[in-house]
Symmetry: C2
Subunit: 387 residues, 2 copies
């Protein structure tokens, strides 16, 4: 197991926690098909998920050890991971792509509750053709398939100390890259060019992958924060934002920084200060026992006082870990309660004039004793300046 | 539209082709939820898909223009794309995450066949919670939901000249990076270190993203080709393989190269030559009108003659485009017929001794006039050497 980022005991504890949750929720097994759940439970480090041809299944029974039901070419890589036993089929085989094998494995499981949880619900997807899922569901005579997502998120939402240190390491690394941007970004470069140099800088410092980069700019603010950098040239008075999800050992950071291109308007400066203050309010509100809606309200109060016109993001932060975003969502009606070990983003933002947005973002871990643990290096109060 | 990689007419032609296929297959609409289909139809360039919180829907009716049904924060980015109209909801909203809005949009569509195609079948997934899909299906009173994947793959499998040039550009770029590896890789480095340097080199030459990198090594061959590089140190007699999917404007290359670390065994050299010859046989067999199973057989004949023990990959190549892998699969029982404009990988490999594999891969476009168009720079007959 020398290639896994955590000791075997970390993975065993995760399976224990899933099994406790299954027992409580009356499930006989969980079945995973997606990269983050697979990696969480076994340590598997592959990007083979990019190819949709072959589904992979991990079966975690309510008691006993897990069973990987995978295409034959996955046998050797799986053996470097933590799991119980392996069943494989020769793939591709579109007419029976693991369907009958998975069905027979599930049929043999000890049956107490008659229910097996798949990734059906909140912020979950099934990585397999739905028609094949229907075949499994219809062939399973002794179990009903139900939603496993409450069980999955309950376990994954509370991170171990080892997980938090992974997230801290990528947050610290990317914080350094953000600080280095003014050393290479210049007026006259395009968003896309700055984004590319930034990506290389992050990899150079040791990040493993960069699954997410958004890059946007405009005079005094930007009009959206979700597309890749365009061929728009940066010029005097622009605000540039980059928002990045980079990983170490699969664990993401997700935060952004703003840059003033030359001198920006007072209005942009004031909006930036307001959002910086809202971030402070969000961090301060993120105490164990508080709800994420309290964190949202603390930020919203500052933004509304400071002239917010609108915010179409619908939330101001979210969970973070093996995925760029995980539940909960910091919004008005998410009643999730913060617990020690949860890692969330604090992400206030506003449109202060039409088409001019300013967003900020930091990543924090909720601690036992009150103040959250800031995993990122706090953004400067005034934007960094690009010459 | 100055930020789209193709002229508007390219996207319009794609919608026309979907609509012709829908007409033939008696569908009233197609609904897309996944990144590659969305990008193919609209040009959208975002990695926001990494966040599973919010589904995005694109509705292509049998006649008329397409309708984006997206979260509010997607409105501005969508406006930079090619589509007809937009409907949005404030998200996150887990209790109704676009479900009722999409349902009402679909209910209003002209109904001739009573059928709407979703991404349900071969090599397709739905990027939304399945429970929400069930709600849409159950609320749709006037349409039945059926599998749209035959329609999707029929259209996407045959690339335009502009698409082929995009794939060629990333293939050529990565070919240069592969050739540069011996200039920085050294015995004593780990797989992970070489992989990281290689990634940076690819980005430095102008690739946009690198969603896939597999890196493996072992004495005289490797025992799998799908995990990320490990902390294994490269030493005399090893063979190192890197297999990479990098993109320009969303279009992937997918090919690999092998490196001899110092001097490798004659057996490894011979296996390498055999797989190189099998690649030639595969390329030569990839004529319009041939089946992909013919291409598979041409390669298999060479490998079996040359002492192949086994190959657990189950196929020797596949389609390529906006996804790292697309149908068809070059295997014994895939009867897909090659047509001009199809882009496929030629990917023979074998285990020539237990635990010692050699794989090769090239990317080609099928042409009107016989010989395929080689998009990659052909691998050298003898492996490049790392000192």
């Amino acid at each position: 197991m020398e290639n896994l980022p955590f000791p075997r005991s970390e993975y065993e504890r995760r399976i224990d926690r899933f099994q406790e949750s299954m027992q409580r929720r009356q499930l006989d097994a969980l079945v995973f098909t997606t990269p983050a759940n697979f990696r969480y439970a076994t340590g598997l480090n592959s990007q083979f998920w990019e190819s949709p041809t072959r589904p992979w299944f991990l079966v975690i029974p309510r008691t006993g050890s897990s069973i990987a039901v995978v295409p034959a070419l996955a046998e050797v890589p799986m053996k470097q991971c933590v799991f119980g036993s392996i069943e494989s089929w020769m793939s591709p085989c579109p007419e029976d792509e693991g369907v009958s094998l998975l069905t027979s494995v599930l049929q043999r499981l000890p049956n107490r509750f008659g229910k097996i949880g798949f990734e059906l619900g909140r912020e979950s997807t099934l990585r397999m053709p739905i028609l094949d899922f229907f075949r499994i569901r219809d062939n399973l005579t002794s179990f009903q398939i139900v939603d496993g997502s409450p069980c999955i998120w309950e376990v994954r939402n509370v991170k171990s100390k080892l997980e938090i240190e992974k997230i801290r390491s990528i947050c610290q690394l990317v914080s350094q890259s953000f600080e280095a941007v003014p050393s290479f970004a210049r007026q006259g470069m395009t968003e896309a060019e700055v984004g590319q140099r930034f990506t290389i800088d992050i990899l150079d410092r040791g990040a493993h992958t960069i699954p997410y980069l958004a890059c946007a700019s405009g005079p005094g603010g930007y009009d959206q924060v979700i597309t890749r950098g365009k061929n728009r040239t940066l010029s005097e008075g622009d605000v540039l934002i980059m928002d990045v999800g980079a990983t170490i050992d699969g664990y993401h950071c997700d935060f952004d920084r703003n840059y003033a291109i030359g001198n920006i308007s007072d209005a942009a400066d004031n909006a930036n200060e307001a959002v910086w203050n809202a971030t402070n309010a969000g961090i301060n509100a993120a105490r164990p026992g508080a709800k994420v809606s309290d964190v949202w309200r603390a930020m919203m109060r500052v933004l509304e006082d400071e002239g917010m016109q609108s915010n179409n993001a619908g939330r101001m932060g979210h969970g973070l870990g093996l995925q760029l975003t995980e539940p909960p969502s910091n919004c008005a009606d998410d009643e999730a309660v913060l617990q020690p070990g949860m890692v969330i983003t604090i992400e206030p933002g506003m449109e202060y004039q039409e088409g001019k947005m300013i967003f900020h973002e930091e990543n924090i871990a909720i601690t036992e004793d009150g103040m959250p643990d800031l995993l990122t290096v706090r953004a400067p109060r005034e934007m960094w300046r690009v010459r």
